[in-house]
């Protein structure tokens, strides 16, 4: 094959992958942490009631521990885990979405640190997909890109490249794929940085230093004022919006943000967890309102239509109007919540650590409409695709059948 033929061939393959990716993105997949564009919101109506013996499409055993959410890419459900006495075996597992059968599993060794608080896991970051590739980031700062057949395309051992990167509490951030760039946020007391990596090749597009302070929040896709692709990065010192193309800082906003939940976006505002919620206008980066009662614990807030929901450390779900922060209601849910709430159709889905999933109506007068329990410890945020709900416990992956 001549060089020109080779070039055309490569270009053709990349074009096909891009087209396939766009087609996949158009499907009702759940491709990343908090689903479509990190919003946590899908229009799908989900089943109201289930139990271990009712309404379950399938259940799959997992080979290790994890707090990462499953993602749904076409007919695959992909989840990560870690195992071994040092939690240094990193698993990426793909299940058949229809049957739950394990299609493939890839196991790698951690190249960075694998210490972790017992409430978290080395597999805490949710993988992301552009429809043709899957990228998975572990607490060891190892980043892997695979195709949908489980073929390793590239890997980045970020703790080798940045020897003091990492957090012995465990890193919790999830990678994002935005406009062909994998954005990774490594916030820690050591070598802190954010980087944009070409999803096709694994090569750096940009890298910027970050404050040397720990955070567990994830990058959030956000449009730039000029309409370009941007990414919002959060740490306890505030927010910053950067260009995905080159990492350029577009604006920054100082505020005592929580280090764990990730800011939500919707209706022209950013909802930042700052002693409650501070709503920041995206157009001017000015505060629009503050609601101290919208306190976030570990879970990220979710913005849906005209509303906003948070779950505080006491397990109380607080709902408010997105326009002005006016409270709609507060509902005490049972248990503690590490998984972030999501919205499916007209209900907030809140999964507690102890296995209870509450469905709460999103209207003007929020109320619990259903409460379902599964065995196990649940710290992973649920996923929804095609009306099916996916719940991941420390040791199992459950598919709740579509209604």
């Amino acid at each position: 094959m001549s060089r020109r033929q080779q070039t055309w061939s490569t270009t053709g393959i990349m074009t096909l992958m891009a087209v396939a990716g766009a087609a996949a993105a158009a499907r009702a997949d759940w491709l990343e942490f908090l689903g479509p564009r990190g919003s946590g919101v899908v229009p799908d109506a989900i089943r109201r009631t289930w139990s271990p013996t009712e309404g379950i499409a399938w259940k799959a055993e997992l080979p290790g521990k994890g707090a990462s959410s499953p993602i749904v890419v076409g007919d695959l459900v992909v989840v990560t885990a870690s195992s071994g006495p040092r939690q240094d075996r990193l698993h990426i597992i793909a299940h058949d979405a229809a049957t739950g059968e394990r299609r493939w599993e890839r196991i790698f060794w951690a190249t960075g640190r694998t210490f972790c608080h017992p409430t978290s896991a080395v597999a805490a970051g949710t993988p992301a997909s552009d429809g043709t590739r899957i990228v998975a980031l572990f607490s060891s700062c190892d980043l892997f890109a695979l195709d949908l057949d489980g073929r390793l395309l590239w890997q980045r051992n970020l703790a080798i490249e940045h020897p003091r990167a990492g957090n012995d509490v465990g890193m919790g951030t999830s990678p994002r794929i935005i406009d062909g760039t994998v954005v990774v946020q490594i916030d820690c007391q050591g070598d802190a940085f954010a980087t944009g990596i070409d999803v096709a090749t694994g090569a750096d597009r940009w890298i910027v230093p970050r404050d040397k302070i720990a955070s567990w929040s994830s990058p959030l896709p956000q449009p730039l004022p000029d309409g370009g692709a941007g990414v919002l990065l959060q740490n306890p010192n505030g927010l910053e919006l950067r260009s995905v193309a080159d990492g350029r800082l577009v604006w920054s906003w100082k505020g005592d943000c929580s280090g764990i939940p990730t800011t939500a976006a919707g209706d022209g505002r950013l909802y930042a967890p700052v002693d409650g919620i501070v709503a920041v206008k995206q157009s001017s980066v000015d505060p629009a309102w503050k609601q101290p009662k919208l306190s976030c614990g570990m879970a990220s807030p979710v913005a849906f239509g005209d509303g906003l929901a948070c779950i505080n450390r006491a397990g109380v779900l607080v709902m408010a109007d997105a326009a002005d922060g006016g409270l709609r209601g507060q509902i005490r849910l049972a248990g503690s919540f590490w998984a972030s709430p999501i919205v499916a159709g007209d209900v907030v889905v809140a999964t507690g650590k102890e296995g209870k999933t509450f469905l709460v109506s999103t209207g003007a007068d929020p109320a619990i409409v259903a409460e379902n329990e599964l065995p196990g410890t649940f710290t992973a945020t649920p996923a929804v695709a095609g009306g099916s709900l996916y719940l991941r416990s420390e040791s199992e992956l459950w598919k709740i059948a579509a209604p």
């Binding site: 006495p85 890839r106 060794w109 190249t111 210490f115 073929r151 390793l152 957090n167 012995d168």
Partner: protein, 375 residues
């Protein structure tokens, strides 16, 4: 047929057989050699190696014949951390494709050979478990003293399982044997716990080899974390050791050998202190210094820097930070600088560290004279 003709025919047949054999050997060599080259290329991967080339080599490795798998496993001997993952990605796919063609006997022989690379043996063991779980389990009986930590752990677990059906005295012997082999801290703790319940009380800190006798300095200022980078008198003349006659002797009574500086000096935030210990090493050479602390720490051995970590209140796990150092035979000094910050959360009050000196697998090496034996 005369004798000459018979000899000619016999010679021809022998030559033909040799030729066939030679061709087979050449074919086999080519079959094995090419995959081995792919495996070595993957194993040596660095950040500078083109990722597309690595992915292509992993694809080729995934397609190798069964006979080439065991030689390819040897490539783990020179593998970089990232290279080990590339190598594994190709070999796991090959093993999955080959299924039963990958003979359990060949895998078992590779696993049983402690001179082969540990990661290759661990991987081969996982394939063996899938194909012949009974053979894999039996193999563990010979791996109690194995240099591959994961295999050693499995062997200790199997030994412990065998204790369940034994009378107390025999079970105690089995647990003591398991304790001698165990290197993982959780496994050691579990075994010591069992022995304690059965009347055999051991000191966990002794078993794990924590250095427990120190002399501790007064507190120095660490406001704003600035003290971490400052060279206070105890370290300003290093490698000459500080005079510690005015320092406070502290002997840890903590189950896991921790030195609590809040108790030893003063409960205060934004301060730092130094601690010096003398340890005996049986032979000269390299050993691992393993420290755990929720505070920022620096460590020197015989006055030479070993490691430095400016991290506050992320974890205090045993063996949190590990670094190699050169020791001499006999008495050596270990100096620790332990810095507390000004965080006010209740979980940020701890100002402590725990340190041990081990071989690469975690076997304690350093000893200290008992207090009454001190010079």
């Amino acid at each position: 047929m005369n004798r000459i003709a018979s000899c000619c025919i016999a010679s021809f047949l022998l030559a033909s057989l040799l030729a066939i054999g030679g061709t087979s050997r050449a074919a086999l060599a080519a079959e094995v050699g090419e995959p081995r080259a792919q495996a070595e290329f993957l194993a040596l991967a660095t950040a500078a190696t083109p990722q597309a080339d690595l992915a292509a080599a992993a694809d080729r490795l995934a397609a190798i014949p069964a006979a080439a798998v065991i030689p390819a496993l040897d490539a783990f001997a020179a593998a970089t951390p990232g290279g080990a993952n590339w190598l594994r990605s190709g070999l796991d796919r090959a093993a999955s494709r080959l299924g039963g063609e990958l003979a359990p006997a060949a895998l078992a022989a590779f696993v049983a050979d402690p001179t082969r690379p540990p990661r290759g043996r661990v991987l081969a063991f996982s394939w063996l478990q899938e194909r012949a779980p009974d053979a894999a389990a039996t193999l563990l009986d010979g791996l109690l003293d194995d240099p591959a930590l994961d295999l050693r752990r499995e062997a200790v677990e199997r030994l412990l399982e065998s204790a369940a059906s034994q009378p107390d005295a025999a079970a105690r012997d089995i647990h003591r044997q398991a304790l001698a082999a165990a290197r993982d801290v959780d496994q050691v703790e579990r075994i010591v716990g069992w022995l304690a319940e059965h009347g055999d009380k051991l000191d966990v800190a002794d078993v794990l080899g924590f250095v427990r006798q120190w002399r501790v300095s007064d507190a120095f200022d660490n406001a704003g974390g600035a003290g971490f980078a400052m060279s206070y008198p105890p370290e300003s003349a290093l490698p000459s050791l500080p005079d510690t006659t005015a320092w406070t002797p502290v002997a840890s009574t903590d189950r896991q050998g921790a030195i609590d500086l809040n108790a030893a000096i003063v409960k205060k935030k934004g301060v730092l202190a130094y601690a010096l210990a003398e340890v005996e090493m049986p032979v000269a050479g390299p050993a691992e210094v393993r420290i755990g602390s929720p505070c920022a720490v620096s460590v020197w051995v015989n006055g030479l820097p070993v490691m430095s970590h400016e991290i506050y209140h992320a974890s205090d796990t045993i063996d949190q930070y590990v670094a190699a150092a050169e020791f001499r035979s006999g008495v050596n000094s270990v100096l620790v600088k332990c810095c507390q910050n000004e965080q006010t959360q209740p979980w940020a009050e701890d100002w402590k560290f725990q340190l041990r000196i081990t071989d690469a697998l975690g076997k304690p090496l350093a000893t200290q004279p008992r207090p009454e034996q001190k010079r």
